[in-house]
Subunit: 276 residues, 2 copies
């Protein structure tokens, strides 16, 4: 039985992503309050697998999770892209007329901003988790409160759905990374099946330095699927680049990494995995 540390509780999007990624396998969730806790579990227990949201088509990259991943030493062994749809739900005897507060994760509140703008009198309150907000309403019988979460979570916690699919943009996907300690990576994904890698490196603020690195990747027929530059905090003139690449040949990919190494600083392979 695989044990998967997630941020959030049963019914959260992390739970859904974990069950869909490991479909057909026996898994046990270890629910954590924070992403720090997820990485802490992996550090303490080499058999623990982590499932972590890393970017969303609307909200963009979760920079904090990139930083946790980079500093944790954990490695990426898989990814899962989950379609995100939100509902607004409340206790069965509440209704639109009685709701005064809506609770959810800040990102979920943001993703329903246009919808919530139609209800300016309802206070938007940040919670740690989408499903957690639903559970809290049920457990403490919070009359007058609504939660934003998946319809699955609303049903799980016995809440009434006031309206489903309330996200502003229907093309709302979150990408999750499956991570573990490096020594366990081979058990979770055969390296020969991997065709995607996540890299991070820094570059001096010199003309053309990124173009050189990307040209080399291109010469080796390595394809870029994502790039994000971030200033290195405390080093005004240095940039950190998070790059996702796909490849057909593991050998060619490894050669390409070797070839760009001397042109970069602190190049780290965050993981090699199968594209979802």
């Amino acid at each position: 039985m695989k044990r998967i540390a997630i941020q959030g509780i049963i019914g959260s999007f992390h739970d859904m992503a974990a069950h869909l990624y490991f479909e057909g396998e026996q898994i046990q969730l270890v629910c954590c309050a924070t992403f720090e806790e997820v990485f802490e579990h992996m550090k303490q227990d080499p058999t623990m697998i982590g499932m972590t949201a890393i970017e969303n088509t609307i909200a963009g990259s979760l920079l904090h999770n990139y930083e946790l991943l980079r500093s944790s030493g954990a490695t990426v062994v898989g990814e899962y892209k989950l379609h995100i749809s939100h509902c607004i739900c409340c206790l069965p005897d509440d209704s639109w007329d009685t709701i005064t507060e809506v609770h959810s994760h800040p990102v979920a509140l943001m993703q329903c901003r246009q919808f919530l703008a139609q209800h300016p009198n309802i206070k938007n309150v940040e919670g740690e988790d989408t499903a957690g907000s639903a559970k809290d309403i049920k457990e403490h019988q919070h009359h007058g409160w609504a939660a934003i979460c998946s319809a699955e979570a609303a049903k799980l916690y016995g809440l009434k759905i006031l309206e489903d699919h309330i996200e502003d943009n229907k093309h709302n996907f979150t990408r999750f990374l499956v991570t573990c300690q490096p020594q366990k990576a081979d058990f979770l994904r055969p390296l020969e099946k991997a065709n995607k890698a996540s890299l991070v490196f820094s570059l001096p603020h010199e003309e053309g330095s990124l173009s050189q690195v990307l040209s080399i990747l291109s010469f080796y027929k390595i394809n870029l699927t994502k790039i994000q530059s971030l200033p290195v905090i405390g080093h005004e003139w240095e940039y950190l680049f998070y790059v996702d690449v796909t490849y057909n040949s593991l050998t060619r990919y490894r050669q390409a990494v070797d070839a760009i190494m001397p042109l970069t600083k602190e190049l780290t392979v965050l993981g090699e995995y199968r594209e979802n």
Copy 2:
């Protein structure tokens, strides 16, 4: 007198950025509830200038504002990088013992997450604005509520600062863009003083397509200061790239844009301006 549309109210970080950018000039703020409203003002009134946060060293890019800028037809004529420091404040007769809720903009709440985690019993409530949360507490005499905002805003609205500099990361900068209708751009920044440009283009999901574009920029001695890829919503295999470049020669820069044009789709120059 210049009129500047900002998101937020007097005392907000947008207000601070506008006054610092236009230091020594007479300006009049037009306070808007949303970024949409800022761009709508510019559309309706060709003399209106907009001031819009576009990225933050901790929270990352404000993707929604990039999209508003791209679709509005407004042009960027300047930038300002503001150091962001938050305080937590309340009515003078409140104290840590009596505070049950803290109100602020979601990004400000996020930037003080570690600090707020030390006070788990205080409910985090999203407001539209940092200074707006302070003003609201003062005007409605909300006992038991605290706001997160700049120390300037706390003083402006007569609140007591419980603790200053509560942001988790002291290297917290927000970059603001100054925008207007294209026909007014020359009045706001002489083009010969500009040395930076913001571009957006899409590329087919083909091996090396980005590397070709960046190589050409490098051949023309155009320097990249930021790059961010985003999936084009509804077109799974196309990517949108937001790129900031700096240059020494306007002619060389213009030639470089002409040279990459045929390799890109929907290349738009979002503006040319002086680097801050």
